[in-house]
Symmetry: C2
Subunit: 195 residues, 2 copies
């Protein structure tokens, strides 16, 4: 395998990249300014040294604790529980939430061998016991695994004094009723709100 | 900008990669085995040192001349002219062509400031004059720029003794007449073959 074939092979292991996209990227890298290749190579090669998991919330950060956990301006009584570190970024970027986060590291998924012990439920329980949280917002995905995980969180927090809520599921804003899938429509009818 | 934001920014400069895909790739790189990061980083960082343009045909290669130009089993009387180095790979992979190649480095595109002097027409003419080619197959894209380039090649080769042909344009195999665009359909009618 020559260097070009190797580059295409490595690029095609990225998520969402097939061999055609990988080939296109490889030829782009051959054609473009070499300073970009250096920057990209450096960014990929050093990312694991520079970015670690926050010891409090479990999201990715350069500093420990992360800027969100150490920001006194964020609402210290509100905790949002998400599956993955990237969910933290998504929720922060929405601009609507000003509390703290807890990253589970995934969802309960027995078919893929992921049980409660593989996720940070113990840390979540400890944070609730030792902190001054008033509300826990469960922001797991609206999938079977996310639903199971949400039920499990409600179960382990049942003895504590916090309110437990979960993100609303229903029609996406700007969507079209005609194209809504059956499950989403069912969820939006079941969860209808007074108007 | 922290290391993660920088990685996302660099990844989103790849062709076909928007900020959402770049974010997904970045989190994948944080989660996956670090040996992969090293391999990918190395492959990107060293590609320009390892791969150069073949001094004969202009396609990318590790050895100079490239394996295609130096393969005596390929038909030395047949020359296929393409716009980009990646077109060589596409045609080789089709398995239907066994001749040599000539890479122009693009197509004539006055609107983007690319004239005949920016492409390797002189080298093409020299190869035809000095070689024993019987046929030149023009495989530029079926676009306005590719058409202009094809006409230009026919013009500069008009004094030489080679047959000049061009790839057939028409309906893609497996396609549906209903979904064919007007230009493709017009081309397939105009270029209809006796049957």
């Amino acid at each position: 395998m020559n260097a070009l074939e190797n580059l295409i092979k490595q690029l095609s292991r990225l998520p969402g990249v097939g061999s055609k996209s990988a080939t296109r990227m490889a030829y782009h890298l051959l054609k473009c300014d070499s300073s970009y290749n250096e920057k990209l190579s450096e960014a990929i090669g050093t990312i694991k040294e520079k970015i670690h998991k926050c010891s409090i919330c479990g999201s990715y950060t350069e500093a420990d604790p992360c800027p969100l956990c150490s920001d006194p301006k964020r609402d210290q009584a509100l905790l949002c529980v998400v599956e993955q570190p990237q969910d933290v970024m998504t929720i922060v970027n929405s601009g609507i939430y000003n509390g703290l986060f807890h990253v589970l590291g995934g969802a309960i998924d027995p078919l893929n061998g992921i049980g409660p012990d593989d996720l940070s439920f113990k840390e979540l329980k400890d944070r609730i016991s030792n902190g001054n949280f008033k509300e826990v917002i469960i922001a797991t995905n609206p999938t079977e695994e996310g639903d199971t995980t949400a039920l499990y969180i409600r179960h382990i927090l049942s003895g504590s004094n916090v309110t437990v809520s979960r993100l609303a599921a229903g029609l996406p804003i700007g969507g079209d009723l005609e194209y809504a899938d059956r499950l989403t429509l069912a969820r939006s009818i079941k969860g209808r709100i007074s108007f």
